[in-house]
């Protein structure tokens, strides 16, 4: 597609339920990032995928959070047993990893606004 696509755009869930957030990166982009942004705050890094390498999960806040990337393209962020503090906008970004070593920019999706009630 033309840009990074995230779905759903909005999600309201009850506390304790599991949710899945989807990210479709730009075609050909090998790097994919997930971030979380609470209201009025900056972006919090969650996880990073690069090709077939093991993902960097260092930003995941708890073991209730997990993510996978199938076929090096679409990614799903799963939050189990959601809590009210999980309410935030979850942003996905993708980046072209250029073998020439040149710097390339990350392109962000519009985000999924998650509300846990």
């Amino acid at each position: 597609g033309a840009g990074v696509s995230q779905s759903p755009s909005n999600k309201v869930t009850e506390k304790g339920k599991d949710v899945e957030l989807r990210c479709d990166p730009i075609s050909g982009h090998t790097a994919l990032y997930w971030y979380r942004q609470s209201l009025g705050q900056g972006l919090e890094f969650l996880i990073y995928f690069q090709g077939n390498s093991a993902p960097d999960k260092s930003g995941l806040p708890s073991d209730r959070f997990s993510a996978e990337r199938t076929g090096g393209s679409v990614s799903t962020l799963t939050i189990q047993r959601t809590q009210q503090e999980d309410s935030a906008v979850y942003l996905c970004a993708s980046r072209l990893r250029d073998g020439t070593g040149l710097n390339t920019e990350a392109f962000f999706g519009q985000g999924t606004r998650l509300t846990v009630v």
Partner: protein
């Protein structure tokens, strides 16, 4: 990863030039400086990137002094639509280097009529 420090917010009037500074005292030799812009309810968008001296594109200019411990994003003749949060990031974003984009709190720019 080099830590960045920015002012939390600033106001400006339409038509003025706005300069937003960022401190990055422990920037490494291979680090680049990148600025992103975020409008409400949208994901961040790349504005400009540089390594040293001055970089200019159709949107902004980036000034980096010789010691590279700070940088200044310059927006010429801002309009109301430039109201956004501006983030400064520092890192070796090359394919062989650091890949994490660590965002600080950013500078919230409000342009007034």
């Amino acid at each position: 990863l080099a830590k960045t420090t920015q002012s939390i917010s600033m106001d400006s009037y339409e038509g003025q030039e706005v300069n937003i500074t960022c401190s990055h005292n422990n920037i490494a030799t291979n680090d680049y400086i990148t600025w992103y812009q975020q409008f409400p309810s949208q994901g961040p968008r790349f504005i400009i990137q540089g390594y040293k001296t001055k970089v200019t594109n159709e949107v902004a200019s980036l000034f980096i002094p010789a010691d590279r411990k700070s940088s200044t994003l310059s927006l010429p003749r801002v309009s109301l639509s430039d109201t956004a949060v501006y983030y400064c990031l520092v890192g070796d974003f090359r394919s062989s280097g650091t890949y994490k984009y660590i965002f600080g709190t950013g500078t919230r720019l409000k342009v007034l009529a």
